[in-house]
């Protein structure tokens, strides 16, 4: 079974997940992102690469922040950007996901940036485009269910490489709600593919997925033990609806045992960096003193994210 995100020559046709992508492709994306980050400092922050192309931000699940970063990236590449926020209620009126896609294809779309609450939805779209012979249309997964958020994973890798220079010899910990996190899955695959020797996940058993160790990570339930001597701490967002109920008793107890505080951060290496995909829940998964402290690289992550998304869009559009 061919990886549906690669073309016949093994190049990137869509970006759907990091799982299964060769290290060379990940490295090329990171290398390509570097010159794009310089563009932000120019008077005219625009490149002509996607001039005349139509990029559809297809958001079946609302996310202003992610949509905005994709929108900025596409606009800096001179693309025409069309934002569609398709609530699930309108799809339940009868139009299927693929009906929507067919309609947009008829409007000469060149690229879809897809956010969907169901794992695998961007794969369905990519497979549908292939079946329709529309290979010139590219799909970027902007987050599907619990499955993947590959551009977030890549911008995190860009950030780590920026501060740590290399992936060899690093110890990286991913902390919090791994079970529901598409970000965590993309981070895990990216870190392991790029050669990070030790990737850890930390969280209570209710938030750690079954058999996650088979993805190549070490599981910790004690945060201090898990943070011991790590170079990079990647915090995950805890969704409001999961803060109390059968997964966790309360945000307070979660913060006490799994929230990142300066005190817990002392277990990590002195030069450790702290990352968060945003938006943060201060006082739930991360203490403000850490979020605003010297170890945090959370705002640079956002800046790098635009360059990484520009690189991905350009690589896809350029074939």
């Amino acid at each position: 079974m061919r990886n549906p995100q690669l073309n016949k020559n093994g190049g990137l046709q869509h970006l759907l997940t990091i799982d299964g992508l060769p290290r060379e492709i990940l490295s090329t994306i990171l290398d390509t992102a570097a010159p794009f980050s310089e563009v932000a400092e120019r008077e005219v922050k625009k490149l002509p690469l996607l001039r005349g192309k139509s990029v559809f931000n297809l958001f079946f699940e609302s996310s202003t922040r992610t949509r905005t970063t994709f929108e900025i990236a596409a606009k800096r590449l001179s693309a025409d950007v069309i934002n569609l926020n398709i609530s699930t209620s309108s799809t339940s009126k009868g139009e299927t996901l693929l009906d929507t896609v067919d309609n947009l294809c008829a409007m000469q779309a060149d690229m879809f940036v897809v956010r969907h609450a169901s794992s695998g939805a961007p794969f369905l779209i990519a497979q549908h485009l292939a079946a329709m012979g529309l290979e010139h249309i590219h799909v970027i997964n902007a987050g599907d269910g619990r499955h993947a958020h590959p551009t977030q994973g890549l911008l995190d890798m860009y950030t780590i490489r920026h501060y740590k220079k290399t992936f060899a010899n690093l110890v990286v910990a991913i902390v919090g709600d791994v079970l529901h996190s598409r970000v965590a899955r993309s981070q895990i695959h990216a870190l392991i593919t790029l050669g990070v020797p030790e990737v850890r996940v930390i969280g209570p058993k209710t938030l750690i997925p079954t058999d996650v160790d088979k993805l190549g990570v070490r599981v910790f339930h004690d945060m201090r033990a898990g943070l011991k001597d790590v170079d990079v701490v990647m915090m995950l967002r805890l969704q409001n609806e999961r803060m109390q109920g059968a997964l966790l008793p309360s945000p307070q107890e979660f913060f006490k045992y799994y929230g990142l505080t300066a005190d817990k951060l002392e277990c990590a290496r002195p030069d450790a960096i702290v990352m968060h995909p945003g938006p943060m829940n201060r006082g739930v998964e991360i203490d403000s003193a850490v979020a605003d402290g010297p170890h945090a690289v959370i705002l640079p992550q956002v800046t790098f994210g635009i360059a990484v998304r520009m690189a991905v869009m350009s690589m896809l559009a350029g074939g």
Binding site: A34, P35, E43, P48, S314, A317, G319
Partner: protein, 163 residues
């Protein structure tokens, strides 16, 4: 027998020197143009730091051949507005690279003027581009590439290869 690139650099510097405005800036085009621009910058003793452009983002064949795999960051470490700028390249051929370079420079600001200095003008223009300075003109048959190379010791040489 191809001309000696080092001697051409000296000749090019000599032809630029007369009447060069003191606030002029050199912008070399990656990769060969940057090497030549470095030589000129040293020889002319310019105060304005050297600029470097990778025009990959502005190439007109992007939709056909995609992104170059190893793109370098462009670096324009000076104010572009109202400055006289000299684009420096090794070999001038179709003129498409120069078109891309001018477009890119304008995204940094509005220069006072732009001139073009090249080591070799090999003819074969596809755009109305004309160098103000060319150390030498040379007929090269289509289908062959004239390329500037730099040895480990830093010595520049020209080489003719099949495209």
């Amino acid at each position: 027998m191809l001309p000696d690139a080092e001697r051409l650099c000296v000749a090019l510097a000599d032809s630029l020197r007369p009447g060069l405005p003191p606030d002029s800036a050199l912008v070399g085009i990656h990769t060969g143009g940057v090497w030549v621009a470095e030589r000129l910058h040293a020889a002319l003793g310019l105060k304005t730091p050297l600029g470097r452009l990778d025009v990959s983002f502005y190439r007109d064949d992007f939709s056909r051949s995609g992104l170059h795999p190893q793109i370098k960051s462009s670096d324009i470490p000076f104010e572009v507005n109202d400055r006289p700028i000299i684009i420096v390249d090794d070999v001038l051929y179709t003129g498409r690279t120069i078109r891309a370079a001018m477009n890119e420079i304008f995204d940094y600001g509005r220069p006072a003027r732009i001139d073009l200095a090249v080591l070799i003008d090999r003819g074969g223009r596809e755009l109305p581009v004309c160098p103000r300075w060319a150390a030498q003109t040379l007929q090269v048959e289509p289908g062959r590439n004239l390329q500037l190379e730099r040895s480990e010791a830093g010595l520049l040489t020209l080489r003719l290869i099949d495209a």
